[in-house]
Amino acid sequence: MKILPLSLLVAAIALSACTNPNRFGADGAGSANPAVGQPLGGVIPGSANDPRSPAYFNQTVGDRVLFNVDQSTLTDVGRATLDGQAGWLMTNSDYQAVIEGHADEQGTREYNLALGARRANAAQEYLVSRGVPASRLRVVSYGKERPIEICSSEACYAKNRRAVTVLAGGLTS
């Protein structure tokens, strides 16, 4: 995916959510995107096809970015997702967010806590660089304590090495 200027990207997301699918299988709901093919007039407030809803943020914008082994450097895909998050957060300014940093199970508990902190911070700094006020963001590391995938192979590890932007506050949450 190309990195677009923020204004363009926000517009792109608003117009064609289906081009930015839930790449990471959040909640296992990636295949059931109710926004696909529905007229904008049919949005149910708070549902995943309401662009102002947390469900839309989580599933359509994408609430998480993934990292390579031992890395906290954002990937191109990760930056694009965070661009989308930044746009959403700027539009929906009544939301705050906690960015959770996670690691896979390889590595010690202590090191993984510190690595998760690096990852959460990398996502936070990027969002701030895109204009989200730092005061609306907090970071927390879970290290390897909260995997979402439980197999012991790279297929699972890749999804566990993540920073997840968890929304808080808002009028309808």
């Binding site: 199970e105 590595g107 010690t108 090191y111 806590l113 510190a114 690096r118 700094e125």
Partner: protein, 440 residues
Amino acid sequence: MKFLSIFLVLVAVAGFSTAAQAQQGPLRITIEEGIIQPLPFAVPAFQAETGDAGQLAGDLARVIAADLQGTGVFREILSSAFIAQYRDFNAPISFPDWKAINAQALVTGAVSVTGNNVNVKFRVYDVVSGTNLGEGLQFSGTTDGWRRMAHKVADEVYSRITGEGGYFDSRVVYVSEKGPKDQRQKRLAIMDYDGANVRYLTDSSSIVLAPRFSPSGDRVLYTSYETGFPRIYVLDIGSVQRRVLESAPGTMSFAPRFSPSGNTVVYSLSQGGNTDIYSMDINSGQSVRLTNTPAIETAPSYSPDGSQIVFESDRSGSPQLYIMSAGGGEARRISFGEGRYGTPVWSPRGDLVAFTKQNAGRFHIGVMRTDGSEERLLTASFLDEGPTWAPNGRVIMFTRETQGEGGASSLYSVDITGRVLRQVSTPEGGSDPSWSPLQR
């Protein structure tokens, strides 16, 4: 619980001591690498001196034998092999009968129960020379503390024969774990070193990690997500009261350990994505930053004299072990082998550092000298981590997690020769053990 230890007046047991049986020196086994045949011993059921002590008389002998057998240094001779019937603590010992079954050490005892009080007496014999090994001792306490009395007897036996301090009368605080990997529930638990007498210290409403005993064994430091963010708490084991150690908003703190004095806590603090090591006066809350690099610095552990700290840092590009002064400043790297090193823990003797090593897809618990020399890996598995030392520096307990979707954690121990590896039984899964000092 208080214990009195009183020297018994030794009763003459001369009758059967066929004295100068060409033995070179007293009964002694030296714990070394590349050991040796385990030393065969016998612990017949104690004599019940009062009518209601019968159950205890057997239980005490069973726990003592299990303690000694569990070291791998000793080998129990089961009672089914006994020739001599042990009935009377003060009767002469029939050494030829014990020699005939190849027992080299014999532990005899007697127990009496008066109301809620237990009195335990014991003697240790060198069967080969037919002599007492040290003096008889007695302990008294309450009936619910009978296992501690057994452990104290076993510690005495172990010390007299190995010349090392014991470790059986000790406890372990750990994280009790339940549930699948993606919904694991964790709570703090404390137990005897052998897995008996488990008691829970927290509930499992928030994640708790890595409890660490205070040097006097009365308090525990641990990390909890109670507030939604990792913070360090100190918990009094007796009252189960806890308090948070203050830290600045927007920071995360974890990986705490007490200094040998018990007045200072060394820990990791993450701020702005960077993790460094700090120390804090536990009473005043004043903290000092000890490392200041963009690298991850974590898992600090004091030397027994409190003058130095061994820790883990990835300043070289991968996690390695370093030692610095307790006040911070320049650090020297001590790990240079292949792979990644973490969670260093200084041994109570001061001679070794235990660590977790990750190399070629496997995890190991290992030890090295404090200058990094003589590295030895004691275990290998899919995931071993988080060593903690027995009070005598001869045994290490750690976490082993199994692979795959059903992966679960349990506690294991290994002696520093690497020969004696065993699982420590806990009611649920277990991780992050911390071994107490010897109880008093």
